[in-house]
Symmetry: D5
Subunit: 96 residues, 10 copies
């Protein structure tokens, strides 16, 4: 089941640089693990923003919520979620 998720990151300047680096490293590893598992099939950077546009492919709403709230950067993110489905003009089979 597919969802478009848009995430914008706002890390306060009061957070120590070393801690920020550690969180970002964890975020990257966590994201790439989910990409390899096929649950996070697309992630793009928005030009000029510390933000991304992502597509998630999960079993249900609960799994998506659990994945998003476990993001290491979650406490500093604004997140919007939009449920998607097959477009009748699509020639792709990625969506089931």
């Amino acid at each position: 089941m597919l969802f478009k998720v848009e995430m914008t990151v706002n890390i306060p300047s009061s957070l120590p640089a070393a801690q920020v680096d550690e969180i970002k490293a964890k975020e990257k590893a966590y994201s790439q693990q989910l990409q390899r598992e096929g649950k996070w099939p697309h992630i793009w950077r928005v030009v000029g923003q510390y933000a991304n546009v992502s597509i998630f492919d999960v079993a249900d709403n609960q799994e998506l919520h659990d994945i998003l709230t476990a993001l290491p950067l979650y406490p500093w993110m604004e997140i919007t979620v939009q449920p998607l489905c097959v477009h009748p003009s699509s020639i792709y089979v990625e969506q089931k």
Copy 2:
């Protein structure tokens, strides 16, 4: 070069049903041709809306504008365009 494009369709009820059907058939053929050419690599339906979330892969801004304004449904669409680029955490090679 990648862009997220969101399209919402509002066809006025005054348009004759036969004409609407014809426009939609043209729209579908036009969209699928662009999908086959690799210029419209993703299109999803937004749940509960006559709207889609799409990713376009084009040579430049001008090509994207020409493609969008040639959509048979263009006169009845609201369109937003957001330029994308590679996300540093992405494991995919689709973006170049």
Copy 3:
């Protein structure tokens, strides 16, 4: 899988009254059928509005989209969809 759906109805005054009555009767029958099937477990009227707040319980995003776009009043509705999941403080077992 649960979703909150909010629907606002705007029927243009140009639609003949007899046709409006027929559409509303179909809408009511369609809604009650889905309520009996357990797919539309809650529907409330918003005070002072021709609008409702509803909860849907469906198999996936696609089923929700198919149900909503088949609403007899769909062409005259504005619809927003928000995916829900279990709240950790909830004592209820309705959500699975």
Copy 4:
């Protein structure tokens, strides 16, 4: 009498973790007590957000205000309230 209430929580990072845990524990107990009393018949988590959608069933506006402002997390919440009533298509008898 039914109300839809939406709550979004924003706890500042300056609040000590032990204090946050204590407030959340009180919030959970308080919420579950109201659920058991039938005054808070529904609570759902919004996917990807530290937020909930709730339905309250109270005697009047005053009781709702007193319940909401006594929430242990109230000082860190944004709250919206929308009065509901019976939908003419509803087959349920929960609303009186």
Copy 5:
């Protein structure tokens, strides 16, 4: 139980003047009847607008909905509803 209700009227120019006059006369009579019954204790005109700010005093949400949707001008109104209760600094006894 008290509610603040704000109504803005937009009558399309296509409605015949005689019909508009008739609707407005019915609206006035209906409003004054509710004022006399004590259910609509305040109504003020917003300066420069075809709009009003009103206070309603009703038994419950359902009664308010029934009153508002029976307004002769209801089909041409935008309505917002906000539940009110006693302010702790109030010296008045009008709210119960």
Copy 6:
């Protein structure tokens, strides 16, 4: 001359509790004095909010400004002001 004034209070958590209590006590006394003088004929609490809806009856704009900016809670308030006048359907004589 009548005005609707809506006030929302946001007291920062950094303000000491004793100081907050003192300010609130002054606010209550100040508000009740104006109510007794007939300048603040209505004040209601908004359900679920630290906010009020008020009606002021003052000689002119300047008096309203002087009253509002002298509120002990003024530095922590967001205030909106809307001028009102007699509604042609009103049966009341409170507005002059």
Copy 7:
């Protein structure tokens, strides 16, 4: 008593040109009469818009409402009203 009033005009293309010219001529005469009486001491055109920024100097809210709703272009205007008073840094005596 001073008010800033902003008016934006939207005349539908369905209104016959002769009727539009007549309304505009009446509007101009009406406006200039009020300017001569000192009730409309300032009127400026907003660059690039069919809109104006005006200052009114009236006895009270009711007089302002009566003036605005009698504007020949009133049925096609969006109007916002903001009460003003003396600025403590002002060296002018125009405001009383």
Copy 8:
């Protein structure tokens, strides 16, 4: 050349009172100097707000920018600028 400028002031409570007083005194002197020079022909207080509505009469955009950014309160202001010109119904000669 005329511009409407609206300024809203937000001084953080962390600024020492003596410094605030000094800045406000400088602001007043600076504003009155510009009023005397005819560059700031109108300034009004917005009722209930720490804000003003002003009219500036300057040689060009650059002069307006230089005046505004030199305001002693500029670092704590939100400013909006709207270019104005002669209204065809105006009987005044102040605008040239």
Copy 9:
């Protein structure tokens, strides 16, 4: 003196195609005349929109207003105007 002007065009489908073509031809000629005179030094198309971003270089506000309201497409445009001046980091001499 420089201004950024953004124009969005909405031509109703009820306008006959021949008339639309004629208006567009006049618009193009008018725009190019102003470009040749140096008053409209930049015009760009917004990707995916029937809209443009333009820079105007005019003597004063009045000249800009006269130019914009004389656009053949003016009755079907939404226009926003923003005054610009020299940026202190600019190496260009185009702005005077």
Copy 10:
């Protein structure tokens, strides 16, 4: 390829003045280097704001993102990006 970019700067008062001066000096040098290279062909100051309107001419989305996120003031900026292309009425050859 052309983009309109709008940047608004918000430097917190807690940043030491010497550090601010250093960042601004770096920003100016960086901006002027890009202007000389032809990648930042226009930059204007917005009147009354610590903000600019800029035009960038870059090879692709990725280059624009890399340029913007390397701005010394980037951490304190809000940035919006809008892709542009040739306007059919343009007489200029700057856009390719």
